[in-house]
């Protein structure tokens, strides 16, 4: 984990040189763009996005249970020729991706015992350690996690055989008999262990000759393992450990620990299920392993708290090591307080020092060494506060927006309605706050209201322009087009986000 210290220096903690300049975001690419008036098929809607550790690959999952892989094309080894590379203007170089392959990860199922349909929708994707040039990833729907290997295979053909299959059309019938080693009519059984072959062998026998017929390769995705039957509730997160051999899966009430190589057992490490389900007040909404320490993980709850647990302390980690919670502002309590406090996503920063959390109204950044309150919070949906009632009526208030941090930890981002997403500067003193639209012209709707920085009662910096309840044209927010899923490239200022069935990529 080299560079951990550098990251820390450049991120929110402190940097003497002042905040980095604001980024100007530009459109880079779109996959699956919708033409005007084209209907979106439910199955095509993207439900998960994840970059791999190197940033050379990107995976998306959709409601139809498919996983689509993209690969970066602008890195050195992928550029066609040296001349092409030289001709490219250095300043416009930014991560570019191309479609690599796709496969059907999950199929719809029916749980006959519980009379429940299990959707094929991919809830989360996590990349694992690549090996031997093959890519590995975990994908999960509500109940079942699968471990996939995606590998290039050369197309090969067998050209020479001892028995000519064309001259022996019935070859399929004698084969099974021989395969079993039973060859009753022949007193001389060549297949028996002690049949004396001539010392030099039998010259007429030959090995099948395998030839590579073309330089073409095909990408093959194979499901290596299935981790099933360990969750009574819907899986909301999976996360790999830094030890490279274990991962966790979390549902509403439990967190389980798995070994990647063992699919028939898992260990329950967190169980918040009360003995009487009527006492249930809080559910787990998201969980993630610490990026460096394999013994630490964090999970968030519907009550707005984040718990950090240390697996070294005990086998069952029901008691947390640290609790991160913001005290409720006095007098502000309403019917919606608890609903909007629910955390929909948490992410560790790359160096493991910070946790970013998203609730319905805000994005909060926590220092894991400071449990008194967040080091920063960013208003994302403050303008919707007067409309909470409507949002409750149409269930939008339960939308689960994801959040992400840039690789260096200096910026954070999250999605919103009308296909908008917001990017904030997380370094100390930064006032950067941008609202972008997932379209080919991301700045189209940006509101030029100043990113006003205010001090809250807890002396925590609150930033973020409060967009009015309607966009620049005076149209009301469109609650049906929401940007829930997004991911930040691990090393570059590049964001991938999902607007319904389209994947938009931007760079800054």
């Amino acid at each position: 984990m080299k560079g951990g210290g550098d990251d820390a220096a450049s991120s929110a903690a402190a940097s003497a040189s002042g905040p980095p300049p604001s980024l100007e975001w530009r459109f880079s690419q779109v996959f699956g763009e919708r033409t005007a008036g084209e209907e979106v098929h439910e199955v095509d809607i993207i439900s998960a996005i994840e970059f791999d550790k190197s940033g050379d690959h990107l995976a998306t999952g959709d409601r139809g249970g498919r996983v689509v892989l993209f690969e970066r094309t602008d890195t050195k080894d992928n550029v066609g020729s040296r001349r092409d590379a030289e001709q490219m203007d250095y300043s416009v170089r930014h991560p570019e991706f191309r479609y690599k392959t796709e496969f059907q990860s999950h199929e719809p199922e029916f749980d006959y015992l519980k009379s429940l349909e299990i959707e094929e929708k991919i809830n989360k994707i996590r990349w694992c350690q690549p090996a031997n040039g093959a890519l590995f990833l975990l994908s999960t729907n509500d109940k079942t996690i699968k471990y996939w290997k995606v590998q290039e295979k050369k197309i090969k053909k067998i050209s020479e055989m001892n028995i000519d299959p064309s001259k022996d059309p019935g070859s399929s019938s004698p084969l099974p008999i021989i395969a079993n080693g039973v060859h009753a009519d022949k007193p001389q059984d060549y297949l028996s262990k002690d049949f004396p072959f001539p010392p030099g062998g039998i010259p007429s026998l030959r090995l099948p000759l395998v030839v590579v017929t073309s330089l073409e390769t095909s990408l093959v995705a194979r499901c290596r393992r299935v981790y099933a039957h360990a969750h009574d509730y819907h899986i909301n997160s999976i996360s790999n450990s830094s030890d490279g051999e274990t991962f966790i899966s979390a549902d509403d009430l439990r967190v389980n620990l798995w070994n990647l190589e063992v699919s028939n057992q898992s260990f329950n490490i967190v169980d918040v299920k009360p003995t009487n389900m009527e006492d249930l007040t809080e559910v787990i909404t998201s969980a993630e392993f610490h990026p460096i320490h394999c013994n630490m993980l964090a999970y968030s709850s519907s009550k707005g708290s984040i718990r950090l647990i240390d697996m070294r302390q005990s086998a069952l980690c029901d008691s947390h090591t640290k609790l991160f919670e913001e005290p409720e502002a006095p007098g502000s309590r309403s019917f919606f307080t608890e609903i909007i406090a629910s955390i929909s996503d948490i992410k560790f920063s790359k160096n493991g020092r910070y946790i970013l959390s998203r609730d319905y109204m805000t994005l909060k950044l926590w220092d894991i060494n400071m449990d008194s309150g967040p080091v920063a919070s960013y208003q994302v949906h403050e303008h919707l506060r007067p409309r909470l009632c409507d949002l409750y009526e149409n269930d939008s208030i339960f939308d689960k927006f994801e959040c992400c941090l840039s690789g260096d930890g200096s910026r954070v981002a999250t999605g919103s309605y009308s296909n908008l997403f917001r990017v904030f500067g997380a370094s100390q003193g930064s006032t950067e706050a941008a609202t972008l639209e997932a379209s080919k012209n991301p700045m189209r709707r940006q509101i030029q209201a100043p990113a006003r920085s205010s001090r809250s009662m807890t002396s925590v910096a609150r930033r973020g322009s409060e967009s009015p309840g309607s966009d620049a044209n005076g149209n009301a927010h469109d609650f049906t087009t929401k940007l829930l899923h997004m991911a930040w490239h691990p090393t570059e200022n590049s964001i991938a986000c999902a607007a319904a069935n389209s994947l938009y990529m931007y760079y800054g």
């Binding site: 084969l175 099948p208 086998a315």
Partner: protein
Amino acid sequence: MAMVDEPLYPIAVLIDELKNDDIQLRLNSIRRLSTIARALGEERTRKELIPFLSENSDDDDEVLLAMAGELGVFIPFVGGVEHAHVLLPPLESLCTVEETCVREKAVDSLCKIGSEMRESDLVDSFVPLVKRLAAGEWFAARVSACGLFHVAYQGCTDVLKTELRSIYNQLCQDDMPMVRRAAATNLGKFATTLESSYLNAEIMTMFDDLTKDEQDSVRLLAVEGCAALGKLLEPQDCVARVLPVIVNFSQDKSWRVRYMVANQLYELCEAVGPDCTKTDLVPAYVRLLQDNEAEVRIAAAGKVTKFCQLLNPELSIQHILPCVKDLSSDSSQHVRSALASVIMGMAPILGKDSTIEHLLPIFLSLLKDEFPDVRLNIISKLDQVNQVIGIDRLSQSLLPAIVELAEDRHWRVRLAIIEYVPLLASQLGIGFFDDKLGALCMQWLQDKVYSIREAGANNLKRLAEEFGSEWAMQHLVPQVLEMVNNPHYLHRMMALRAISLMAPVMGSEITCSKFLPVVVEASKDIVPNIKFNVAKLMQSLIPIVDQSVVDKTIRQCLVDLSEDPDVDVRYFANQALQSINGAAVA
């Protein structure tokens, strides 16, 4: 396309199927690789088959696993030890696949081959292979390399040895935790081959690094190596270098590390000798027995007997026994269960008086435990206590517990206790058994759960073996015969089952005089299931009884059954008739 002589057809097919699309056929061919090799001859095996296998390492894991296994015993087929090196390339590529079990098999096979190779070949081909793997781009190769050093090291020149040690040191500090884990796992094995001067200096430095690793998962495996290393070192070095690490680990923040220590501790005691055990390890062990984490207490409790064997009785009574008392009322049932499974072994160590004074109350409280596994574990080790304190004292407190378990509402518990009945019977003796347990044995035959009834029938057979046919004739047979008239057909069926099991034990005479009439009667039952079970039973009786009885009684009965309206009854009756005819021919 070549055509092959008719007699060679099967072997030709076997070779072709190395590349068949059907994985089962490929697997079959790979498992008979030695046959293929013999058919090709040694030279062509070396020049064609082995290179062919090297090029085909992108097959399914199952096939690769089989191939890795086969190649480990392939030296005779390539022409003996002087050609053993040709086997290395295919195994090297198998060492780099990402599936752990394939890699492990390939490493196993390489170790086997390496240990048979001539020293010069080892240096020329095996050592370079290890170096290549250790420098591999992907972690899988480096993980495999860790398991090969102990073979490569022997017979190397000093220069090479120095190089290998430094490479291993690098692997201990690899970026990938998987590689460091493999290095930690294999450190003990590697250490056994090293000269003792390097052991103290270099290996212990690697060990120290691993024990301080930032990854819990690596430190865990380092603990596992403690015992192995401790045994290699001179006792004073062990005390100086390994003991402090162990004592530290026993107080580690991570419960998994402490768990590992609890599992290893008694082996370490052997390594450091009795003095240090007394002063350092006993306190460490006592701490582990009182650990906050139930998993650690489970591991520690499971070793209590082994640990006490190393100590003298006074020390055990003074330090360990108080902890054992606490553990017997531990809040975790699994801790109590682990304790119950070993605590009986302490009786011979402590001797009769101490056992009665200290252990018996613990036995009794565990016997009354609310958790059935705990009680079962005590009962299953009964013989050990029996030898120390005698059956009378034991049976008074024991029997109520057994009777209770025999009627437990969990059928698995009942099943477990049935398994122990023959053992109990032999311990308690006939007299005791008749009074208390005889009735239970019959009750099981009418249990609601099939597995219990089946086990009950088996139990009768085992009792008959234990106490002899005469006793069985008096105490078991009448009840069984009575059950044939039970109004419930499942119970009648179970009576037939018991008869079929007991008949071989009871012998021909009783079978003919007692069982056979009842069975013949049962063949007129109204339930077809009973009738075809009669047919099956008769078939099993054929070898037991005289041919005359077969001809006179059994055959007639079966002929009647073979004309039954029910198709299954006819089928099994005919099967039985055929086996009569078969026996007659033989």
